[in-house]
Symmetry: D2
Subunit: 271 residues, 4 copies
């Protein structure tokens, strides 16, 4: 007897995977039927949501996954991965350390943006105009949550994040083809107009905002927007960790060794 049906087996109940010796099924599909038949983005969708998407839905998801892989060594996630390798960690440890960084501030904007978009969508469904819904929900967000409107604004990419218009254009195409409704692209643009107006200058939609439009269009819930970002960013993390491995280095700190930090505590060491 293999313990199935027992209290121990039930403690780990799942509807994702079933197994017997020589057999594996994901969401009911034999693994050998999936391999070679579905794309990696289709597999990601199947695993997280339980059903296979159409090829067109998966293609739009793929655009978001491609767009967010990396933002360079000054991103804390990437820096962490590179430092990790020089501390002796393998790629698994480097990737884990880096993905751990993608918490609320560094990795949560997409999740928050999906949530804000859904507030606006529901307000429109409740009868408000898009403009009115957008203005009210931004006010609500800034009152209940934080002054930061998720998915907009960039310290570096001004006046425009090059990924956002490209991704929105692909959503428009998908909407025209009937793959998605296009409602969230409209919400994203309404937010863009509102924020530009309120700030009196461009507050560019960033990668979190643009991918959140795609995730929301495709029906992913907020937490999965964060998970999918983690998956996408893992590609850049792995690439930088691997490059660092080839560059060598031991115990690489954040700044070159000749630099010291500034000390502002008591009893400093004199020259």
């Amino acid at each position: 007897m293999n313990g199935q049906g027992s209290d121990v087996a039930d403690w780990w109940t799942t509807s994702i995977i079933d197994m017997r010796p020589g057999q594996i099924r994901f969401r009911g599909h034999p693994v050998e039927d999936l391999i070679g038949q579905v794309s990696f983005p289709q597999m990601i969708w199947l695993m997280t949501r339980g059903e296979l998407p159409s090829v067109e839905q998966a293609r739009l998801l793929e655009c978001a996954l491609v767009a967010a892989v990396d933002h360079g060594p000054q991103a804390p996630s990437i820096a962490t991965a590179r430092m990790a390798v020089t501390c002796g960690l393998g790629l698994n440890g480097a990737m884990a350390s880096a993905v751990n960084m993608l918490d609320d501030v560094h990795g949560g904007a997409g999740e928050q943006a999906v949530e804000l978009f859904n507030w606006i969508d529901q307000a429109v469904a409740g009868g408000l105009s898009l403009e009115e819904a957008t203005a009210r929900m931004v006010d609500r967000w800034q009152t209940e949550r934080t002054v930061f409107v998720p998915g907009f604004g960039h310290r570096f990419h001004k006046p425009e994040d090059p990924r956002a218009p490209r991704l929105l254009g692909l959503v428009d195409e998908a909407a025209k083809a009937g793959v998605v409704s296009g409602r969230y692209a409209g919400i994203g643009r309404a937010l863009q107009l509102l924020l530009n107006e309120r700030k009196g200058k461009p507050v560019p939609m960033n990668i979190d905002g643009a991918t959140a439009v795609i995730y929301a269009e495709l029906g992913f819930e907020g937490p999965l927007a964060r998970g999918l970002f983690c998956l996408s960013r893992s590609v850049g993390v792995m690439s930088h960790a691997w490059e660092q491995m080839q560059q060598g280095g031991r115990n690489k700190g954040p700044t070159p060794p000749a630099y010291r930090w500034s000390y502002d505590g008591p009893n400093p060491i004199g020259e």
Copy 2:
């Protein structure tokens, strides 16, 4: 001045990504040219290796990525992710905790298999027959490294891991079409024969062995085999973490609360 060209900038030198305000290039390709044009597996290849693969190469990579996403809640990586969620972590923390588990024992077999395959490949290039090269290199592996031959044997899937023959079949097709050489599929099969014979029973090629054949055929170095497995398994990890989030639960331990562990130390508490 933005610090470029300084010792601080040089401390973080990379050939992966270049940025200016409004512009991002990966390996020299503007991001907006990649989004919507390349598949996620192509992007993974470009980021890790510097050049875009052909569509056919990327498709074979995709098969490996699809195949390894999950092995159920008894895999320490998946169990960790599910427990993490009930401890309060978001998907990033759950995914990080799980990927951290994919160290030498849980996640290193693919990396090791690529290395062993390359030993055999070089021995063949040096003039040995495939059978002779395989036998000698397995002996060397077991002497220099460990008794475990990476990529073969499975506690559960007997006599065959359903993923292996399917993946090898796809390598054969790719070899016939000239996408890969097929040399590593041959090495994998030679290992299979040798191990079956030595053990006197089937020692099935497992998922690490089968994906290692693909990674080696495509020219990925060993450490990236581990990294790619981490990326693939992240999909299952995310899916299980998300399922657990929806199931609820707080501080989920490995076994149901009614169970206790066995204590074999001094001065046990009496009934």
Copy 3:
């Protein structure tokens, strides 16, 4: 020039540590004056708060650190550490994986309890009786935060967690000796009375509640209560990881291999 005083140095400003070749000062104290002179708990206090505590204050802190080291292999933190070792991680990786688990649910109760205690303390300072303040702040907590009152209730230890009365007794002694005020012990007991009464059965103060009394008495802020718990629990984590290392095992899952999980998804594999 060593980069001190530059924008790069200022980016990493700290008042904790100063260094020059051959010299290290923590919070202004030369390291060689601390080694052998201060206890580990005194050092923990100095590092986190900037000043050395008295021996008596440090002793009370030490009691809390001793009390929370471990809660057995069914705690997700401990289970994770043990599984990690069998996946190939060293003690650093096992400890990291385990401490990561100590998030809001598994490790946040102490932090939350300190916060709730401070609400009550301030309400008393504002003129309410202790009973009234306790009742009102519990109501507020359950309205604004969560139904779970942090620091009280235990799935396993009923009717009493053996650590709580021992720790409270030590706080009483310290209060009598003038080391602490004893106000938070009073708050803890008022909470205990209120919860017992409301539930109609004992809702025992647990380890998080009892250590939070100590941390609050000693003036530690909430987030440090969580950090100190992480430090304390690291001892048990290290011990279990090391024991597992000696026991051996590879890829230890949460339950014995003969068990399977229950599958409740579509298209199950037939017998």
Copy 4:
């Protein structure tokens, strides 16, 4: 029935902790007898090794724990913790991310030094003079392992690491008092002489070497030297993470935002 004695209970067998409702014993000692009676270092020893140390042994352990808490924001572990906080992680996540960094290169020197010291100790036990044993085992280390002799040399602290002579002095005192044998202090000094001579300049014993002398004197095995370092460094990590939390900041990268990294790949973006 509580599952004790079953295969599930046996899967998690431990000799560290026993529990029943209202009772907890660590290594056979009721928790309420330990709290307030043993120091935190004594508890660390009891948990990892199964027996309570003498007060004097625990004091020497305490010196090593105090000495290694921090090495400033340029240490990858500390930098990671500070960056983590600005990404949204709590202290548990920051501590986990930092401790994960203490792998073979950043955190493994103590473990390796204990091993090398034991090689030398056994060679002396086998009849070699201390000088001869030291020379031969350094040769063996550099042949079998790596050119780096663990525990010696420092990029920054020259000609002396201020922690090493202080710690060795305390070992001498403990040896004189009969607490330890002093053999490993002798081995450490023999290594120091040999390396100075071979290099023709001071190769100072560093913190890993000095604490390894203490750990070896006290009978800790190599892997625990790494674990104890992780525990000690967790104090500095927590302190820096907490300081960063108070300083604020979002997504703090390794260098100030005005800096960029250098790009040395194809097709750079022109000015």
